[in-house]
């Protein structure tokens, strides 16, 4: 069981946030279930994208920014966007399905200053060539990309997995694979599937008018599909991985008790996992970074945290256990003495829920973007693009 008081609530907010978001295109080579994006505009003009990046930085004070879409790697100016961001000293992360990622493009992006790629890979995508494969079998594809980026040297590798009822039981197997690859994989997000329910008891309004949700082309769904919680995903993983202990969280904007982000950070080397970082370490890293640099930390530029991290064992009981485990490992097998120490973050996300008159969003969301000069939640972009403003649900009483 999770106890909130053992976890650190990130100190982030909209105007002081480590993350930002920009979309370069709404075109994509895949059509994944659960995707928020509709094809409306195609590739965006580079000047507009640059302006949004500048505005986003100004409004959010972000340390890193996600370049998303659509599929950003089919955007013709993707290298320019990365370069522009890196020049502003924002750490660029590309969110991609990986289909267009070649070793040559990876090298070019690295040269432009790309810090990280998050690859969206899951079994619901029905990728050409991987149809019918389950999540465990897709670890092979994940391995391919992890190796590719490891060999490129300098671009960190992360994954996104949308979680459905039928893929929930595979989370331990994916986690297992990630832990084994801690030297190659720095991040994974497990994102519970959500979509707007199209049922008779919910009406939708935008800008003071009733709207027809079918304009968004969303298909009806089974409500049990859209209620996976972060806690459920946690139980599923922790059941098999006893060392899976989250350190920090974000709560819901309308319902404070919901957990929107739940974050665990492993420390280990290619020879094995030693343990996790605790809440105190995460807190210290955030506040010290903010005091010194004036902004919160999105992620470290180098995934190698080194043995110096164990100094924090003085204040962090979780890290103390990890340090002890590391010492035991060194004693058993001297290779541990010389192997590099990495960190790997595992995020459990639980996106939007509808309440009457409000939407329960991620409070202090990392993925805020600029749309027409205004900061909005990126998950709601198409509400603005199609209806001009955010949708408000009304649930009949």
């Amino acid at each position: 069981m999770l106890n909130r008081r053992d976890l650190y609530r990130f100190p982030w907010s909209k105007p002081d946030n480590p993350g930002g978001w920009v979309e370069v295109t709404d075109e994509c080579t895949l059509s994944c279930r659960g995707c928020y994006r509709h094809k409306i505009e195609g590739h965006r003009p580079l000047d507009e994208v640059r302006q949004d990046i500048r505005d986003c930085r100004r409004i959010t004070n972000c340390d890193g920014m996600a370049i998303a879409g659509g599929e950003p790697l089919i955007y013709p100016h993707i290298v320019d966007v990365v370069e522009f961001m890196a020049r502003l000293k924002i750490k660029p992360t590309i969110l991609s399905n990986g289909e267009k990622l070649t070793p040559a493009l990876a090298k070019e992006l690295k040269k432009a200053g790309l810090a990280k790629i998050h690859l969206h890979i899951d079994s619901i995508q029905n990728r050409p060539g991987w149809e019918g494969k389950n999540e465990a079998e897709l670890n092979e594809l994940r391995q391919y990309f992890a190796d590719l980026l490891y060999e490129t040297k300098g671009i960190q590798c992360g994954y996104h997995v949308t979680v459905f009822r039928n893929t929930l039981p595979y989370l331990p197997a994916i986690t297992e694979w990630c832990k084994r690859n801690i030297h190659k994989v720095q991040h994974i997000s497990f994102i519970a599937f959500r979509t707007l329910p199209n049922t008779p008891d919910v009406e939708y309004f935008a800008g003071g008018r009733r709207i027809d949700l079918r304009t968004l082309g969303d298909v009806p769904h089974d409500p049990s599909e859209t209620n996976i919680t972060a806690e459920e995903m946690f139980e599923e993983i922790a059941d098999r991985h006893r060392d899976f202990e989250p350190a920090a969280f974000l709560n819901g904007s309308a319902q404070v008790e919901t957990t929107k982000y739940l974050i665990a950070i492993y420390v280990g080397s290619r020879n094995g996992i030693y343990g996790v970082l605790g809440a105190k370490t995460v807190e210290l890293v955030q506040v010290v970074h903010h005091l010194l640099k004036g902004r919160y930390l999105s992620f470290l530029r180098s995934p190698v945290v080194g043995r110096k991290v164990f100094i924090l064992a003085l204040v962090d009981p979780q890290l103390r256990r990890a340090f002890a485990d590391h010492l035991r490992a060194c004693f058993r097998d001297p290779r541990h003495l010389v192997s590099r120490i990495y960190s790997q973050s595992i995020h459990l996300h639980q996106p939007n829920e509808l309440l009457d008159g409000q939407v329960n969003l991620c409070d202090s969301c990392l993925n805020m973007m600029v749309y027409r000069g205004k900061l909005i939640n990126s998950c709601r972009l198409d509400e603005y693009r199609v209806f001009g403003t955010a949708i408000v649900p009304a649930i009949a009483r």
């Binding site: 909130r4 008081r5 609530r9 100190p11 982030w12 907010s13 909209k14 105007p15 002081d16 059509s31 995707c35 509709h38 094809k39 409306i40 505009e41 409004i59 959010t60 009406e203 309004f205 935008a206 800008g207 003071g208 008018r209 009733r210 709207i211 304009t215 968004l216 082309g217 969303d218 298909v219 969280f249 974000l250 709560n251 904007s253 319902q255 404070v256 008790e257 105190k280 807190e283 210290l284 506040v287 903010h290 005091l291 004036g294 309440l355 009457d356 008159g357 409000q358 409070d363 900061l375 693009r385 199609v386 209806f387 001009g388 403003t389 408000v392 009304a394 649930i395 009949a396 009483r397």
Partner: protein, 415 residues
């Protein structure tokens, strides 16, 4: 000088990790102030219900202080017990009152029960019996009366709330003039911009999928200018009169992050002179350090007589550095000032709940969340829940019907 966000600290507070929370003990009151969010529906609440709400707030917000509000909490029969209950649960009890029922005996009893601070709502819009027709500066006599009473009591901190309307905005400096002179006695002043529903032509409101009747809704105006004073406007008025004023921290709006919902100014000074303000760095360091040590954030100060040791931070904080220079300059001219104790005082400019372009813009990181039927809600929205079952949304067309016009979609489901 316009507000520069880069020179301010954004408080790290959130719903789940917040220094403050709110509980209401009654919705009865002996005044009817314009801008009051509360309607008389339930009267005094049961002590049991109040205690449960306090514990729920503590659990869900991690708060270190609870504001006891209403209605007028001093007419609630169990008020002393509520204060005592909060104190016994290791939080600071703070009362928000109009002061009318505060006798010296009750004050002493509340102090004994562990009251940390009392905020008096005193302003000219209230039209108090005996003080009718007074201007804001005319009301400084009444403020002085309460400030002296709390000062004589000892141990309890004193604050004031002032609702700022278009009419009283120019009078803000005369209030602050008095407040600053009373820095030993007055720890907080909240200058709260008047807000309410916009009742102008064509505005209709909906909750729970139905249009609602707002004819009984108390706070609002058919003149939208009356309910649109921003914290920047109030700040400008303050800064024009007191040039050393600098805000050090803020809270932003939920729908419009560029709005300043709380704007905090921390004066440093003695009864004879304000030396300057505390800067963002010090506030940040204090919040971070308190949270690392105690596992929760802090609002307000444990020791308003902060002393000259605050000047040690001049090396890190340019605002304190400026205050130190003024202090040294003053001491050079009249060395006796070196013996004056140094106090800290907080001016909080607030721009409450509002609807901007159809979106509800609340205070992000609000200190005044409360429990209602087992859920945490912003206290300013309580009567939306009590009267209409949930938050109000604004409708622009009378029928509420109409297609959403927007670009057409190619893609999933529509290709």
């Amino acid at each position: 000088m316009p507000i520069d966000r880069k020179r301010m600290y954004k408080f790290p507070w959130s719903k789940a990790d917040n220094p403050g929370a709110w509980v209401e003990v009654t919705d009865e009151c002996d005044l009817s102030c314009p801008g009051c969010y509360r309607h008389r529906l339930e009267g005094h609440r049961s002590l049991e219900g109040v205690k449960n709400d306090i514990l729920l707030c503590q659990r869900s917000t991690n708060c270190g202080r609870i504001s006891i509000a209403g209605g007028e909490p001093l007419i609630y029969p169990g008020i002393v017990e509520v204060v005592d209950f909060i104190r016994r649960n290791r939080m600071q009890p703070v009362i928000f009152s109009n002061g009318q029922n505060l006798s010296r005996e009750l004050a002493a009893e509340l102090r004994k029960a562990g009251l940390h601070q009392i905020f008096f709502h005193v302003d000219s819009g209230q039209d108090r019996p005996g003080w009718e027709g007074r201007s804001e500066s005319g009301l400084n006599d009444l403020r002085q009366f309460y400030a002296d009473m709390i000062w004589d009591l000892g141990e309890v901190q004193c604050g004031f709330n002032v609702t700022v309307s278009r009419k009283t905005l120019p009078e803000v400096p005369s209030i602050l003039e008095w407040v600053r002179r009373n820095i030993p006695k007055v720890q907080n002043v909240s200058l709260i911009a008047l807000r309410g529903l916009d009742f102008s032509e064509g505005k209709r409101y909906m909750a729970g999928g139905k249009f609602i009747d707002t004819s009984h809704w108390q706070s609002g105006s058919s003149d939208s200018r009356e309910i649109s004073i921003t914290s920047e406007e109030i700040y400008e008025v303050v800064e024009r009169s007191f040039a050393e004023t600098r805000p050090s921290a803020y809270l932003s709006g939920t729908a419009r992050p560029e709005t300043h919902k709380f704007l905090i100014i921390l004066y440093l000074g003695s009864a004879r002179k304000i030396y300057g303000t505390v800067g963002a760095r010090t506030v940040e360091f204090n919040e971070a350090w308190t949270h690392l040590r105690k596992g929760r954030y802090m609002a307000g100060f444990s020791q308003p007589r902060i002393g000259k040791k605050i000047f040690l931070l001049a090396g890190l904080d340019r605002e304190i550095r400026k205050a130190l220079f003024r202090y040294l300059g003053t001491a050079l001219r009249s060395p006796a000032r070196l013996f004056d104790p140094v106090y800290i005082q907080c001016i909080n400019i607030q721009q409450p709940n509002e609807i901007l372009d159809g979106e509800v813009n609340l205070c992000d990181g609000c200190l005044n969340q409360m429990a209602y039927k087992g859920n945490l809600i912003p206290s300013c929205q309580l009567d939306e829940f009590r009267l209409y079952g949930g938050p109000i949304m604004e409708m622009t067309e009378k029928s509420g019907e109409g297609p959403g016009d927007g670009p057409s979609i190619r893609g999933p489901g529509n290709d």
